[in-house]
């Protein structure tokens, strides 16, 4: 397990992290979402030892991360970092050696990952000569070249074209299948929803929602029930107990049910109006979950 446990961090009066905790199981992918400035990058930098947490720790297999353990982590910083004048192959081999591979193994790994990520013919190019997309691939290769046990990637998909996104996603899924826990942050929520076993939503320095996407959906209060009843008179559902009409347009009705309200009673009422063309819980997308989660809780602020 990769565990982030109760991380706190303040810069002066600015409280950036206020008790961030979550865990990533080996062989699973964890998507890390949050608005800009929510503290995603700080959390990752604490894991990599680049920022010192005021409180809390990050553990891998039960041991707090130290320099030796961090060497087994593949890391991709938010601000890409490579030597601009160094050649791709040499650069990858250098990072592999810093992570503890010997010379020959590092050279082999550098060649392997350059090939894997479609950089085979660019191995002798300087990084500054590559397109941004290719630089991004080199960056990912630098994170993977040391055969890491854990991957921590800050915005790995930003700036990639759709083909690049697919290639990167495939590479990450392969790591996951090999038993590596992968944590990545992203603003591309559709991507997170598609790839991740679990997501965490960070807002105002703490985790406001974390878990598998289906579970988050179930937990989400105020789910909407969509009922399409073409023959029903307007206002057909207004009088049903525990039901609030969100919207109604020519029989296409969105209903919010109070907790404990029986959706079958709503179905029965709908059938009484005539034909029921559609009756289903509307699954909120991750985008809606995200909006809901990061929304400023008005009541709490007032209190």
């Amino acid at each position: 397990m990769l565990e982030f446990d109760g991380l706190h961090k303040s810069y002066g009066a600015n409280r950036v992290l206020d008790g961030v905790s979550f865990a990533v199981a080996p062989g699973s992918m964890f998507g890390f979402c949050g608005s800009n400035g929510a503290g995603k990058t700080t959390t990752m930098r604490i894991a990599m030892g680049l920022v010192r947490a005021d409180a809390g720790e990050v553990r891998w297999q039960g041991r707090p991360l130290d320099q030796a353990l961090r060497r087994r982590i593949g890391y991709m910083p938010e601000e890409r970092g490579l030597y601009p004048k160094m050649r791709v192959g040499e650069q990858l081999a250098y990072f592999a050696r810093l992570h503890g591979l010997d010379g020959a193994a590092a050279a082999r790994a550098a060649e392997h990952w350059a090939d894997r990520l479609g950089l085979a013919d660019r191995r002798r190019s300087r990084v500054e000569e590559l397109s941004l997309g290719n630089q991004q691939r080199v960056q990912l290769a630098a994170a993977l070249v040391s055969r890491p046990e854990v991957l921590i990637l800050d915005e790995p998909f930003s700036g990639l074209d759709p083909v690049g996104v697919d290639a990167l996603a495939e590479a990450l899924l392969e790591q996951v299948r090999g038993g590596v826990p992968v944590v990545f942050s992203s603003h591309q929520l559709d991507l997170v929803e598609r790839l991740c076993d679990a997501v965490g939503i960070l807002a105002r320095g703490s985790m406001v929602a974390a878990g598998p996407v289906p579970e988050l959906r179930r937990r989400e209060p105020g789910r909407l029930l969509r009922v399409v009843v073409p023959d029903a008179p307007p206002g057909w559902a207004a009088a049903l107990p525990g039901v609030r009409v969100e919207s109604e347009l020519a029989g296409d009705t969105l209903l919010e049910l109070a907790p404990g309200t029986d959706d079958q009673a709503v179905l029965a009422a709908a059938l009484r109006t005539g034909r029921v063309a559609h009756f289903a819980w509307r699954e909120p997308s991750l985008v809606e979950l995200f909006r809901e989660a990061v929304a400023e809780p008005a009541g709490e602020v007032a209190a």
């Binding site: 990599m48 680049l50 320099q67």
Partner: protein, 397 residues
């Protein structure tokens, strides 16, 4: 996955990796190669210039019309006594002597040197040569007359020569060598200090430092960088020293090779100490900024110290026993530039050199410790310019 996984490299291995990368990337850097070649060419050019200049006032050839064979050695001896190299060429008669002068095969020709009317033939007047030949001719004549008068020349007293003080000619030569050494040392300190600073900013500006610090501690990165570039710098100053010494010996520019080599070795040793100090200071200063453009502003204070040391060293060459030179030769940071000059001038006692070295070592230790903390605190702050105090406070574990 973990069974075949990589081992954790130790500090020494990491420092070595960083150092090796610095050396290999710098050696392939065009600017470095060009600057090295230019320095060597300058050195060789200076020596060639010396050879050309000194050959003009070098050996004079004097033709002597064959006589009893005494005047030739007398002219050579007189030349040696006053410091003019004279080579004597025997010619059969006065006509041959005149021809040789007109053909510029010789600088002058002495006709009838031991006779009653000695004559010196030359194209251009040369007071030194005239004095040498005149002295030899009259000396020989005086000796002959005295011998005829029965005076015993054996009993004439010889003047014993005892040099007083340290202002001998050898020290002068050693000071010149030391000054040249200090010029090279100053140039290399500035050059390699810049390399270190540029390297630090490059890593910070390209953000690669985040990846590096995820695998090693800041001091390991700092040590590797300084060691790698330091080895290059040491290699360069040793090559320059070797070429300089060899050239000076081949071109016969110095009289006492042992002392020349000693002075060069002193300069090289001071380079090691000076580099360790300035590399650290430059690296720390560079770690405070995030862009190459801002580098100049933070390097100025450190460079000023170097410039002051250089100016004092030049001044010390003229007055190696003066108060300014004596005091500054102990000041860490200045001592690597001033002390070699004082040592070459023979003005520094053993304990003074030892004290300066100890003070400098202390300063290096302090720079590494304090600098390492600032460096660690400032490295991951990639926005704008970091203040030293902030960096010290933000120092990570």
């Amino acid at each position: 996955m973990t069974s075949s996984g990589p081992r954790s490299p130790g500090s020494a291995a990491l420092v070595r990796l960083v150092a090796a990368r610095e050396v290999s990337s710098r050696i392939r850097d065009k600017n470095f190669v060009i600057s090295s070649v230019v320095i060597l060419l300058l050195l060789l050019g200076t020596m060639a210039f010396q050879v050309v200049v000194s050959s003009g006032e070098g050996t004079s050839r004097v033709a002597v019309v064959a006589d009893d064979g005494r005047i030739g050695p007398a002219v050579e001896a007189q030349g040696e006594a006053v410091g003019v190299d004279v080579e004597v060429v025997d010619v059969p008669d006065a006509a041959a002597a005149r021809d040789a002068v007109e053909a510029e095969e010789v600088d002058a020709a002495l006709v009838d040197g031991t006779g009653p009317a000695p004559e010196l033939l030359l194209l251009d007047r040369d007071p030194a040569l005239e004095a040498v030949v005149g002295g030899a001719v009259s000396g020989l004549a005086v000796a002959d007359r005295l011998l005829e008068a029965g005076v015993d020349l054996q009993s004439l007293p010889d003047v014993a020569v005892t040099p007083v003080g340290d202002e001998g000619e050898d020290d002068g030569q050693r000071v010149v060598v030391a000054i040249m050494g200090v010029v090279v040392l100053y140039g290399l300190l500035i050059l390699f200090g810049q390399f270190v600073a540029q390297g630090v900013v490059e890593e910070k500006a390209s953000r690669v430092v985040e990846l590096l610090l995820a695998t090693m501690r800041p001091w390991q990165l700092l040590a590797g960088k300084i060691l790698g570039l330091g080895l290059l710098g040491l290699g360069q100053i040793v090559v320059i020293g070797a070429v300089g010494v060899t050239g000076a010996l081949v071109f016969d520019l110095v009289d006492v090779p042992g002392e020349l080599i000693g002075t060069v070795a002193t300069v090289v040793a001071w380079f090691v100490l000076g580099y360790a100090f300035y590399a650290c200071v430059f690296a720390v200063a560079a770690s405070l900024v995030s862009r190459q453009e801002d580098l100049g502003s933070v390097l100025v204070p450190a460079s000023m110290l170097l410039v002051v040391g250089f100016l004092v060293a030049v001044q010390a060459a003229g007055d190696p026993g003066g108060t300014l030179a004596t005091v500054t030769s102990f000041v860490p940071g200045l001592s690597p530039l001033v002390m070699p000059v004082r040592q070459a001038a023979g003005e520094a006692a053993g304990w003074e050199v030892a004290l300066a070295v100890v003070l400098m070592l202390g300063a290096v230790g302090l720079a590494v410790r304090l600098g390492g903390r600032v460096y660690a605190g400032a490295l991951v702050r990639t926005s704008g310019r970091t203040k030293v105090r902030e960096a010290l406070r933000a120092e990570r574990a």
